[in-house]
Structure formats: C-alpha cells, structure tokens
C-alpha cells in the first residue's frame, strides 16, 4: 500500500493506492512492468525461415518463464527488424511461479522483401533490465521454376473464414493433416451454407495445368466424414468470370490432384459445393502447378 498525502490549502486529499497488489510480495514492487525481472525468455525453434509472400509468415514458439517464487503480471515486448512484422508484438500475461507460458508468434516478411538475415528482439518488461532474446530470421523469396508451387507466392481470399482459422492456412506450405488442430488449414465460417470458395491470386499471370487439393483427412478427422465431397476447380477469365477447369464429385480422400489443359490466369479458386459432414468446407493445403 502506498499512501500519498497532498496538502492543498489546508485540505487533505488522500489518494490511497493498492498499487501493487500484484507486487505486494515482489522485489520490483512499485515499478511498472512489475515482476518482469523474474521472467526468462526462450524460443523454439531458435531461428526461423520465412517467405517474402502474402502468406509466407511462419510461427515460432516463444517461451516466457517466471523464475521467481511469486506470481507476477509481466510484459514481453517484441521488436522486429524492418521489414519484418510480428504478431503478437506484445505478450502481457499472468505468470504463476515456475510457470512457462508458450506463445506462438507469427513472423512475417512482406512480399517483395529482400532475401537476407534479419532479427526479432524480445525483452521482458517495459522498463529496466529484463531478460533479452534475439531470434535470427532468414527471409527467402517464393520458389520459381517449372515445378514450383505457385500458390506459395499468391495472396488468398475466401467466401468466409471461421473465427478460429485463417485463409492463409490453405497456402502456408503445411500439408500435414495432423496439424489441423493447430489451425494450419482453412475452415469456412458459415455452417451448413454452400457453396464456399477459396481463391489464390498470383502477383502476375501464370500458366497453370494442375491443382493439388488437400482436404481434411486425418486419423482423427477422416475425409469420408469431414473432407470436401464436391468441388470445382476454376480459373479467372480476363472478363472477370470464373471458368471451371475440373470438377470433383463424391470425394472421400485427402489428396485430389486435378489436371487440365494449360491456361493462363491470375487467379485459381476452389468452389466448394458440399462437404461430407454437410457443415463446413475444410482445406488443409491448396497447391497450384504449371505442369
């Protein structure tokens, strides 16, 4: 408890503060960012490689541990080197003694960023001398060449996206079905309403002739129950209309590869007409190839 007496023209104005109720047993009592001095930082993996593309962000797990014997509220500020951005760029939390909070942090390099070595700096506390950590980040540009997955350089849009998911999950380079629970895929946001769609748009026109669609099909969530059943693969025409280049019906498996006559377009989309649970459209990964 801190009590401050303000004497003003003979009248006492007493402001009673329990400022640091969180800090009543803390060695850093009374200072902002209370308790942050007891926080230690770690990152897994210890370095990161991100793609300079609209959906090229990658995730690193930041660990924040309270090494003290008292619970604290603390802050960790993340400062990315330009042109990187991070989300979240702040980790404020309650930390019980001995507890390690693990926060997935998304690191992004905007499309067009130069390849090279960069870093994200982390510091515990807003002031003072908290623990610091530097995460090295390697920025690469999307693959090119005849066998490149063009979706990796694309931007993405969707008819809707469930609040727990992000459309980028469909073109993040992760086709591991078992990662569905950690939201590396796309799930639309309108249950029992079809059609849904997810589209990728390239930075410049591309000639394409194959689309590999990975719909949800894991041991826990089998494709016959949760995967896309009926969908069309469409390309954007120069007049703004969508032309169907492949149609899939009654699908029950995880990977559907659709090949078609080569066509030049700026955008490819999957029009989801039905899923096997009739509720949601779910895409783990969408890949687009020249051949």
């Amino acid at each position: 408890m801190v009590a401050i007496r303000w004497l003003l023209q003979g009248l006492v104005v007493l402001a009673v503060l329990a400022s640091a109720m969180s800090a009543s047993a803390s060695p850093t009592r009374g200072r902002p960012g209370v308790g942050s001095n007891d926080l230690t930082l770690s990152a897994s993996p210890s370095s990161l490689q991100v793609l300079a593309a609209p959906c090229g962000a990658r995730t690193i797990d930041v660990g924040v541990r309270n090494e003290g014997s008292e619970p604290v509220y603390g802050d960790v500020v993340l400062t990315p080197e330009s042109p990187l951005t991070v989300s979240p760029d702040l980790i404020s939390s309650y930390f019980p003694p001995g507890y390690e909070l693990v926060v997935p942090v998304s690191v992004r390099a905007p499309a067009g960023s130069a390849e090279g070595e960069y870093e994200v700096r982390l510091r515990a506390g807003r002031t003072g001398k908290g623990d610091e950590l530097v995460i090295p980040v390697t920025v690469t540009t999307p693959p090119d060449g005849p066998d490149a997955n063009l979706a990796l350089a694309a931007s993405v849009s969707a008819s809707s996206t469930h609040g727990n998911f992000a459309a980028c999950g469909a073109i993040d380079g992760n086709r591991n079905q078992d990662d569905w629970d950690v939201l590396t895929g796309w799930n639309d946001g309108t249950p029992e309403v079809f059609p849904d769609w997810l589209a990728v748009t390239f930075p410049q026109p591309e000639q394409v002739s194959r689309v590999d669609l990975y719909t949800l099909d894991s041991t826990r969530y089998p494709g016959s129950r949760y995967g896309l059943r009926d969908f069309d693969v469409q390309v954007l025409e120069s007049d703004g209309s969508w032309r169907t280049v492949a149609s899939v019906r009654d699908n029950t498996v995880g990977l559907v590869s659709s090949t078609f006559d080569p066509v030049s377009t700026t955008s490819v989309r999957v029009l989801a007409l039905a899923s096997n649970d009739a509720r949601y459209s779910r895409i783990v990964e969408l890949e687009v190839y020249r051949e």
Partner: protein, 574 residues
C-alpha cells in the same frame, strides 16, 4: 500472492472535499476554454490549469502529467455497483486506444475526478485525484463515498488538460426506503462483429435507475467472425483468439470505442457480471477443452484482469480468482443477488452440448455456483426482507427441452445440466417462502419469459417464481421474430414468450407489480434501427407467474432459419 480484501476495496478510493474554491475556479476556467477550443485543440495541452495542478503534484518520481497526442478519454466513462452512499466511477486513459497499452508510456499519471449534483458542475460535492497505473493500463476506479442515497449525480475526469465526457449516475436508496418504483434494464451478449449496438443507443434514452449486464460483454473470437462490421479495417491482432492479457485488453478497448455503448455506460450506473465469453466459450471453472487446467487458469487470470480493468466494479482479481457475486438492495423494494455461474461450476455433464439421457446431470454432488456462493445465496434469500428478490445471472434457469421428439434434449451448459443444484434453489424459495422470486438471464440470444415450477415435468405443480430471459444486444446478427427454436422452446409449457431479435428487457418494479417490456430492434447489421416493445408481461405481488399485457405485431423478418444456434459450435470439435 496475497491480496487483502480491505486493501482492495480501498483501491484508489479518493477521500476528498468540495471546498477548494480556487482550484475549482481554475478548473472551470480551463474547462470553458477547452470546450471552446474543442475541435482544434490538438496543439496546447496545458495552459492555466497546468499551473494550478502543478501545486497538486506530489513528489512522486514515477508520476507524470502527460501532454496527450490524442484525446485520452477515448473509451468513455462508466459508473457502477451503486450503494446508498457510494458508486464506482471508471475511465481509462487511452489516447491511442487500439495500440498496445492504449498508447500510454509506462508511467503513473494523476487523474482528477469530480462528482456534482448538476450536469454543469456548479454544485460539486465530491472530488479528488488518483493515480492511473501502467500495471492496469491506466484504468481508473474511484469508489466515491459520502454520497446521499437515491440521488442522481454527474461525474467527470480530467488529465493533462483534457476533460472526459460527463457521466450520469445514481446512488441506491437508503435501505429503509419504501421505494414506489425502480426502473432497470437487463442487457447481455454484444458480439462486436455481429452487428451494431443500436439497442444501446436506445437504452441510453430510457429512464432507468440502473442497468444490469448479464455477461458476454466481449467474445474471444476474431473480429472478422461472421464477416465483422462492414467498412472497418483493424490491425491483424484483432483476428487473434484472445488468450493473452493484451489480447483481452485490446478487445475491450475495441468494444468500448463504440459510441452507443459509451452512451449507455454514461447514462446509468451498471451492475455487471460475466458469462463464459469474457474468457472463452463454455468454460467451467478451470476446465476448457482448449488447454490443460494449468494453462487455462493463466488465460482465465488474463481475462479476469482485463475485465476488471474495464468495468466499474470495486475489487480486482487475484490471479485467476475474482469475487464477483454480490448483493444490491434498492430500499425495501428490490434485492439483486448477482451471481457468477462460471467460476466455480463443475465441468459440463456428459461432455457438454445437447444431451437426451444424461445421468450425470442428475448427480447431486455437482455444483453450478460452488458451495460458498450457493450457501451465500440461500442464506441471503432466507433472510431477505425485500419484496422482490432477484437472481441476476447468466443462463436460463427454467427447464428447456430443445426437441419436439420423444425424450428430452437439454443443454448441459444451462441449469438443466445441474438439475439438483437448481432444485436446491427452488426448494429454498419454497421453504423460506421467499417474497416474489424473479430470475433474470441472458446467454441464449433470445427474448423469453418463463415460469419457475416446483417440478417442471408436472404441469400441475405450483409456480414458484418468474424468469425473464433477455436477448442479446448484437450476438446472433439480425435475427427474426421467430426461428427454428421457437416451436420447440414454446412447446415447454412453462415458456410463455419467444422472440429471436436483438434488444433488451426494461423493467418497472413497484410494490404491487413488476412489468417487463421486451424491447427489440428489427436489424443490427446496419445501423439506425428503431426500437419497439414486442411484448410486455406483468407479475403481481404475491402471485408468481406471467400475465401478458401487451403483444405487439412483429417487426422486421418474421422467420429465419439461419440464425446460428444458441451455442456456437467450435469446429470440428463438436
């Protein structure tokens, strides 16, 4: 961590005076200048008043009086938890409300406050200064004491040459008062991304003594859920599912930036409680499917702390624990028992969801309120001398069979999932002959009226109390007069009214009767809807149950089958 209750209740209590004439003259001068300058005020922060308040400045190394780059009272003002001599005033300094820490540096900042009998602050009766602390993102809670009972008051804050909006509040009447009428409203469930707060705009125009918020003040989901609000672009962090303290803080800031919710807060004192979404959908004590209890309690601690930082309530949480259940009396007329049905409940029976033959829900060992709160409630009901005894809480208490099929389908998240716990309360109402029991609930995004029966499956059993279920402010989007739940819900013989639009319930309580007006708007996906009373019900003193006194024509859509069900599914974990 130790936190003494008395220390907490003393938090930032300003013990103050209204006698310092020269100081207030200076304040008034400054205020006048500011009012005149507002609109092109950007440049000069401090002028005459900076001088005056330099005298006030304590020798605090960490204190500072900032020059704000932008208006710091961007989140408005609020008051709440009215007692006969006291009310809690709230604001938060956030010149850049959507930035981390509201755009504030990590320094303590003195904030002055005033309480007056008139909106022009000619009769200031209480005033003081308190420190806004960075630990609490410069939120300000002032527990003003020494006020007169049953009186309207006006309040405002000042900091760095900037003055807040003026709020209006009201103290509770003295305990012995034979009050002739109390007017209040219940509100709940305000998903920002589902629609505009049109209902709050109308609420602010009502004539009310107090507003009760029954939970789901914010939602943990991305603000882009259901398409979000049209034409609004927000930083990426608002797409995060809230888990960190800064996630919850930023989300409160976003919700409270809305001018309609600010108007509703500024117009009346609020008594707030929470439901699940202030943390995460359908959590139960330390249990949620998203993570182990050890991790979940950290998330809960973050959510509770941000809740307190943004609400006009007296006592902050201690880590993952926050005492929120409490009691408010309005003379001899009404006693509100404000409950917390989340923090202490056993995990939902039979894996949650809708269940037909769930034995676990009948286990008398299971609790919804936790033993301490349940005892506190039952003791309070037994000893109450109020004419109307209100349970202000979150989830529907009357039995609610969701299906027209044979057998009964109950939601394991509602009181139905904790049947013996409900039976214990109903038994106590009967045993102690509690005067006029009234249950208020939210959560389900529907307007309903129901009767609390001694035995719900026996139509001949007596009516023990009356339940008014308030719809959402915005959650569930536009809705319609009826949806696919209308038929099965109304097939419950004790359910007397159903509507699936957005709005609130306004109450007028008198010694001889209570009237509930179901106020609804036809849409919320676009701003500007008008509000109408869809139906009104009366409960007479000494006669539990519902008498419908108004049944007005439907407005807006008559039927929609596309309203998300009351319990939003999490994919694909259903």
């Amino acid at each position: 961590m130790t936190l003494h209750a008395d220390a907490a209740s003393d938090y930032t209590r300003g013990v103050a005076s209204g006698q310092s004439a020269s100081l207030w003259r200076a304040w008034e001068d400054e205020r006048q200048r500011l009012w005149k300058r507002r609109g092109f005020v950007a440049a000069s922060g401090l002028s005459a008043l900076g001088l005056a308040f330099d005298m006030l400045r304590p020798s605090l190394a960490t204190a500072a009086t900032p020059k704000f780059r932008a208006y710091p009272f961007s989140l408005g003002v609020a008051s709440g938890d009215p007692l006969p001599d006291s009310v809690v005033l709230w604001t938060r300094l956030a010149p850049e409300p959507l930035e981390n820490f509201g755009g504030m540096d990590a320094v303590r900042v003195p904030v002055q406050w005033q309480v007056a009998e008139d909106p022009k602050f000619r009769r200031v009766v209480r005033s003081g200064s308190t420190l806004a602390l960075p630990e609490y993102v410069h939120s300000v809670h002032v527990d003003v004491r020494g006020l007169k009972p049953g009186r309207p008051y006006y309040y405002r804050f000042r900091c760095g040459g900037e003055i807040s909006a003026v709020g209006r509040t009201r103290t509770a009447p003295a305990p012995s008062t034979d009050l002739s009428a109390l007017r209040f409203a219940i509100v709940s469930c305000q998903a920002w991304f589902d629609g505009f707060y049109t209902a709050y705009r109308h609420l602010a125009e009502e004539d009310l003594d107090v507003v009760l918020h029954l939970g789901d003040y914010l939602y943990e989901y991305s603000v882009r859920t259901n398409g979000g609000r049209p034409g609004v672009s927000l930083p990426e962090k608002f797409e995060r599912v809230t888990t960190l303290l800064n996630d919850y803080r930023d989300r409160y800031a976003l919700y409270k930036l809305d001018p309609d919710i600010q108007a509703a807060h500024a117009a009346f004192p609020w008594i707030v409680t929470w439901d699940d979404h202030e943390v995460v959908n359908n959590y139960a004590d330390e249990n949620h499917p998203s993570m182990p209890p050890e991790d979940f309690l950290v998330r809960r601690a973050n959510a509770y702390r941000a809740f307190w930082e943004h609400m006009p309530v007296r006592n902050p949480p201690t880590g993952p624990d926050m005492g929120l259940y409490r009691r408010f009396s309005f003379g001899r007329l009404v006693e509100f028992n404000v409950l917390d049905t989340r923090q202490y409940r056993d995990d939902q029976a039979c894996g949650d969801g809708l269940r037909t033959d769930c034995e676990e829900r009948l286990d008398p060992q299971r609790t919804l309120l936790g033993p301490d709160q349940e005892n506190w409630l039952l003791d309070g009901l037994a000893s109450s001398t109020a004419r109307w005894n209100v349970l202000a809480q979150q989830i529907m208490m009357a039995q609610l069979d969701f299906t027209l099929e044979p057998g009964q389908a109950f939601s394991m998240d509602l009181w139905d999932g904790y049947k013996p716990a409900r039976d214990r309360i109903v038994s106590a109402l009967i045993e102690h002959n509690v005067s006029n029991p009234v249950v208020l609930s939210g959560d389900i995004h529907r307007s309903m009226a129901a009767e609390i029966k001694a035995r719900f499956d026996d139509p001949d059993s007596p009516v023990v109390g009356t339940e008014f279920i308030g719809t959402s402010i915005s959650s569930g989007m536009d809705g319609a007069d009826r949806d696919e739940f209308a038929e099965p819900f109304l097939a419950n013989p004790h359910v007397k009214f159903y509507n699936a639009q957005r709005g609130y319930v306004q109450f007028t309580v008198m010694p001889e009767r209570l009237q509930a007006d179901y106020r609804v708007v036809p849409y919320v996906r676009e701003p500007g809807a008008q509000i109408t009373t869809r139906a009104s019900f009366v409960t007479e003193d000494g006669k539990p149950g519902l008498i419908q006194v108004a049944d007005n024509p439907p407005i807006g859509r008559l039927f929609s089958a596309q309203i998300p069900p009351p319990e939003q599914p999490v994919t694909p974990y259903e």
